[in-house]
Subunit: 353 residues, 3 copies
């Protein structure tokens, strides 16, 4: 375990907390909403090469600039939470005034409480961080994020609790924007998801629909595509999505629960390498449309006074062909109950009309 | 006297200056416009429990976000100055573009000069801080704030000078947003003011007008009320307002001068405790409407080139029934000259029409 | 050479790098886009007395506030770069939403890489700083700024490279806003430029056109004037502009190349001293109109994928009458080829219509 304060450029003053379980190392950002900057396993890095040289201190991220796009100035993590009051596309009113900025504020808010402990018996490492997203007269949401990993475990398990501290009802949204680039992402990489339905987000995604499961090479000038999914899970709602490389001997998978996060977005962004060759696996409480649209579609979470919502997410690295095959088999079993419904056009309601 | 740099969360890097006169302790925020975070007297804290876990470094307060409401992200002080170019409600032009953000910038600007000294003869402690609110081509306003307290004095005296450093005329506004919550504020607490006129700010306040002097319990879902006042003062314009607890054995009062600050606002905000159970005693150069409205009503201060305006404010704690009664008597004497005119509806001109 | 971290007020945490070649001292701001705060030569300071008490840490500069004018909160340098995605007047869309803020972002972005070295043979000091202006999905521009000065040299030479790191084409703008005030600027100071054409920017400048080369005293209430120029250069495009004092025994000149920066703006701002008595010598890739206008006029630089543009600027102090006369003679020789065309009204296309 190592806690460092980073110096220089956009990272000045930001803390980096590194946790090593002997096999898997996790670099956490308490100052960026307990995001995960990068992970390291079996000689490779999980993460991506963003054109943004991060990690970026929130003082340099103009989240609420009029365009609502300032969040992009700090975007370079492996795992970044989008929320808690909102996530998704910038949302402006009819006059053009910003209502909700892209992907919300939580990734640019610091933890005010942080603990690291180790279980003497199991050796399990536990990191807890508490981040408040609070505005007087408005939201009083608290994220308590717990990250755990056992000695030798090829990944981490995250348990997040979002509390409405207010005596009034509240709404919340949460999406885990998990971003994977090279070396795992390469031409021929495939995403394996237990999909019941898939719908392209927009016309670009509609055009590219046929190849949604696979990735081409970095392609300068290409445009991002996003696909929205209804996934299948087991009887508890547990599900898994996998990204594997072309050779099928490296992969990373996410485990989560469909009762907690019923919606899944796949983001494919394969421009030139310098522009950020990356794919996003994004389980969430909704789709990353404008918040206004999501609320109209009843895809925001209602929290009563003092209420809470819990979210579990596991990130696992698969470092050889056997481990990848095992993960793929797990997804295949989840997929068995029925065929995949492919919407040839954006499904009404899933996309802003 | 103790000067600390705070660490962690939203307060990272902010300085806290604590002054103790043996009986009364004051926690000052040089990095937030010389605001007073909390005071401590006779075993109790003067201040309130904001849902914002402050004090908050200005780097985390998006004062000028398009909504104009970003100031609320840093709002947790006992005494916060609103101004200097503007205070009051966010002010947008007809296109919806922000003209003046809520309560202005001064509370999120740091002092660039700070001194603490003690008079050898009287033991009086004096803190001076200088904060500039400056934009090239626009305002060049300087706040020089002096806070004084004698050994054993149950409070502090603030003397603020606002200078127009420019060779051009300038306008300014200043309002002291003094916020009191538990334990002083409780069901049955009363505010005692030498009012000549009182007017509800809006329809909510109109509805609640009958009980303007008293406070109920924390009430989830309730909405803030604000009342605007013309107060009476003595022949010098000096006046006093008091908040006392239900039992009448604790209180806090503000002394100020009506020639300096002719307008007084009472803010009552009694939602659930988690949302900030608090009342604001707010002497100012105007009412906290939009700046455009206040200027149209001639309630902004005109400063000639090099001109200055001075403001005196005392904050006194009353820690037993005798002290409270004495303060209440002082207010009663100020109130004597005539009856209170109660406007059953918002007085034209005092409220944005 | 001295590197300090500044403390207190708006400068808290900002680094100041001072380079002294024995005769000429340069104070650099790596945290503000490698700007030059002030220079010192022969007993005098090159720079100006801004009403903004800088240097200002970017955390206190709301560049993207809705007005687009937040840049002015940090404006106090001798040399500040405007760019790289845009410079010039704030640019809003038809709805009033900010598209491009005043003078862009580069001056409020920190270098993430800094080196200082000295050539053992020549003693030349070289400072290199690298600043990225990057937004995911948008610009990926890198400034690599090299500043050099020889022992005893009465100035510095800057060589800037702007790279488009993206695999997509990009556009860029760059303007050097070089600001000179007292003591060099005084009543009777003159600017000497090898102008082929001069055009007033607006009606104020049109009114003041006759006296464009000279300066009056600080005049409270006066309004800034700006003049746009086509300059003459030598066969390589090299040119020079000079500001000299009333007595002709002090001056400062800029050398640059018209192939790199074809446009030159003269900014005259002579209000009361407290408001910033200053003139700006501003070579650039265009004029400081809105970016939308400059693009329509083809005055933005197109960079292919991986492309770069180079910019050279020298700043020289002339500390006696002979040195001033020599610089003036150099400008005169450049001016020889033909008469100066004076546009009595703003030249169409040069000014936003």
């Amino acid at each position: 375990m190592r806690l460092r304060t980073l110096r220089g450029g956009l990272r000045e003053g930001l803390q980096l907390l590194e946790i090593d379980n002997g096999a898997f190392r996790t670099a956490l950002l308490p100052g960026r909403g307990m995001g995960v900057w990068k992970c390291y396993h079996a000689g490779e890095t999980l993460g991506w090469n963003s054109p943004v040289r991060g990690p970026v201190h929130p003082a340099y991220v103009p989240v609420t600039e009029p365009s609502g796009l300032g969040w992009l100035d700090g975007f370079d993590e492996l795992l970044v939470r989008c929320g808690l009051s909102s996530f998704g596309a910038p949302d402006h009113n009819a006059q053009g005034q910003l209502l909700w900025p892209l992907h919300g504020r939580i990734a640019n808010l610091p933890a005010h409480w942080l603990s690291v402990s180790v279980d003497r018996q199991t050796g399990e490492i536990e990191v807890i961080g508490v981040v408040d997203e609070t505005r007087f007269h408005f939201q009083k949401l608290r994220l308590t994020s717990t990250l755990r990993t056992l000695p030798g475990e090829p990944g981490v398990r995250i348990h997040d609790v979002v509390e409405n501290l207010s005596a009034n009802p509240a709404q919340m949204q949460l999406l885990y924007h998990v971003n994977l680039g090279q070396p795992l992402l390469e031409p021929g990489s495939r995403v394996v998801v237990p999909a019941a339905e898939v719908s392209p987000r927009d016309t670009v995604a509609t055009t590219n629909l046929a190849g949604w499961e696979t990735y081409g090479p970095p392609t300068p000038g290409s445009t991002e595509s996003a696909y929205f999914f209804q996934l299948r899970g087991d009887s508890n709602g547990d599900t898994r999505v996998l990204l594997k490389n072309a050779g099928g001997d490296r992969g990373a998978s996410l485990g989560f629960n469909l009762r907690q996060m019923p919606y899944f977005t796949l983001w494919k962004n394969t421009p030139g390498e310098a522009d950020g060759y990356v794919t996003g696996l994004e389980p969430g409480t909704g789709f990353p449309n404008t918040r206004t649209h999501e609320e109209a579609q009843h895809r925001v979470v209602e929290l009563p006074p003092g209420g809470r919502a819990e979210f579990d997410l596991s990130l696992t690295s698969h470092a050889d062909a056997a481990a990848v095959a095992e993960a793929e088999q797990a997804v295949a079993e989840l997929s068995e109950p029925g065929p995949l419904r492919i919407h040839p056009q954006p499904k009404p309601g899933w996309t802003v009309g």
